[in-house]
């Protein structure tokens, strides 16, 4: 087992990393996929030192602090932060626990699990499965190709481009905005209380669609879908194409909008 306590800018190389776990209170953490030697680079650090442990291929990076109560005290009293960049093999599973720290994750193909209180998470070209759980942090992503599970209270989810097998999103007030393709047998399920949901799918999508909002308005740009305004809420349902995939959006008071993206041939 190798252990470092980092309190100044430093670079550490590792022979191999099979899994990464990081607990960061404040600052930024960037995880980049690379086939080169795994590296940890601390660019900036103040306040609490960072503890780095490398054992049997498992890399653990922790803000040294004593439990949750210590974290709360720290956030109240100090302005410590860290900027750390870690490169790992693309298939390395990554688990991040962040408080106010922000994360940038690119190119990973394995499992990515992120918990944040208020930190924002930016994902680019992640093709594995993503599990994000946040109280107030936003998740912004582009070019994803896998599955996404998102749970938040007030954090927003935005997915720009990409193609998903599975999308599950639950928010209270957080907005959900997506512009992704749904795979042939993909499943998308979005639930919000008051968060607005805006989704755009390719005009050529094949899916069964159910959009329901109790008090919010529901609009869909696909003429195949039929609208029902009942006393108890509004819904828009129907089947697009041969209905291979499925999309279900549910909201209490949030507005739901389903848009259609013309195929490239229709743009000309």
């Amino acid at each position: 087992m190798a252990r470092w306590t980092v309190d100044e800018p430093k670079t550490i190389d590792f022979d191999g990393v099979v899994a990464l776990r990081a607990n960061i209170v404040a600052g930024t953490i960037s995880i980049l996929a690379s086939d080169e030697k795994p590296t940890l680079q601390v660019g900036e650090i103040s306040g609490q030192p960072l503890e780095v442990i490398h054992e049997a291929g498992m890399l653990t990076v922790n803000h040294k602090s004593s439990g949750w109560d210590g974290v709360v005290k720290w956030l109240q009293n100090t302005r410590g932060r860290v900027a750390v960049t870690i490169t790992v093999p693309p298939d390395c599973p990554v688990t991040l626990n962040l408080v106010t720290a922000n994360a940038v994750i690119t190119g990973l193909a394995g499992r990515v699990s992120v918990k944040t209180a208020s930190g924002a998470v930016t994902l680019d070209g992640v093709t594995g499965s993503i599990d994000a759980n946040t109280a107030a942090g936003d998740i912004e992503a582009q070019g994803l190709a896998g599955s996404v599970t998102f749970k938040s209270v007030s954090g927003n989810l935005a997915l720009a481009g990409g193609s998903l097998d599975r999308l599950t999103a639950h928010t209270v007030t957080g907005k959900v905005t997506t512009d992704v393709d749904l795979r042939a047998d993909g499943r998308a399920q979005v639930n919000t209380v008051s968060g607005e949901v805006t989704m755009r799918l390719p005009a050529s999508t094949s899916a069964t669609v159910t959009l329901t909002s109790l008090t919010g308005r529901v609009d869909a740009a696909f003429p195949e879908l039929t609208r029902q305004d009942r006393p108890m809420g509004k819904d828009v349902t129907g089947t697009l194409g041969d209905g291979g995939a499925s999309l279900a959006v549910n909201s209490v008071s949030g507005a739901i909008t389903l848009l259609s993206r013309p195929g490239p041939e229709e743009l000309t």
Partner: protein, 245 residues
């Protein structure tokens, strides 16, 4: 596309890649992508004309292998690379620096994309709404209101519970993280004790949700005092060489 390469630098880097080994154009593109962790991905339209130019200058040559052009460095190319060795070292340093900046670039890039997507979709949503008819008249207004209220109540309860669970989950994640990170069994034990105590408090709070009277408070106090006494003397004091710590 990206300011990764300054003037003439990409040309130099191409020579370097071909010096390592003969490669075909696609391989060169892939190597550049790898080098920049996918952030700088030059298009074939950038790379192939440059390779062609190097060939015109006599620095590289190509042969066709299995229908693909494989480029290799010529002696002139090797001499050019040797002449510019200093510049190449400098370039390598700069590239390391720019890899460091990649994360920031990614973040800015994704933020820009998301921002423009939001604007675009907001605009598109507005148009769809304009076309669609306005919502149907409010029939059965009273009935709707009542049912909505019920639904709200139900949702509120659900989310209050959800929030509590989330909060608790959070604390546990952290505590576990610290305990495994700091590694000592003493810390882990302390975390477990804290958790047991917290769970106890939570359970009692929930049980007393509907209010307690003075008599109940008095009984609770007596029982707690007894429990505390017994915990300290019978269990915690037992192995502790410093009782009362």
């Amino acid at each position: 596309m990206s300011p990764v390469f300054g003037h003439g630098r990409l040309r130099l880097y191409l020579l370097k890649l071909l010096e390592e080994s003969p490669r075909h154009g696609y391989e060169v593109i892939r190597l550049l992508q790898d080098r920049f962790l996918g952030v700088y991905s030059p298009s074939p339209g950038t790379i192939y004309p440059r390779l062609a130019r190097l060939e015109e200058e006599g620095l590289v040559t190509h042969e066709v292998v299995q229908g693909k052009k494989v480029y290799r460095l010529t002696d002139a190319g090797r001499a050019e690379l040797e002449r510019r060795m200093d510049e190449l070292a400098e370039l390598e340093d700069e590239l390391t620096e720019s890899v460091r900046d990649i994360a920031r670039e990614v973040q800015e890039d994704v933020r820009d994309t998301v921002r423009s997507l939001r604007e675009e979709l907001t605009q598109a949503a507005r148009e769809v709404r304009k076309q669609g008819t306005a919502g149907a008249a409010a029939q059965n207004f009273k009935e709707t209101k009542r049912r909505q209220k019920d639904e709200w109540q139900r949702q509120k309860e659900h989310w209050r519970e959800h929030k509590r669970v989330l909060k608790e989950e959070w604390r546990q994640t952290w505590d576990d993280a610290w305990a495994t990170a700091t590694g000592t069994s003493e810390d882990a034990a302390r975390v477990k004790l804290d958790r047991a105590l917290r769970k106890f408090v939570d359970e009692i709070r929930v049980a007393a949700r509907d209010g307690v009277d003075d008599e109940q408070i008095a009984e609770v106090r007596a029982l707690l005092a007894e429990t505390s006494e017994r915990l300290r003397t019978e269990i915690l004091g037992r192995d502790d060489p410093h009782p009362g710590r």
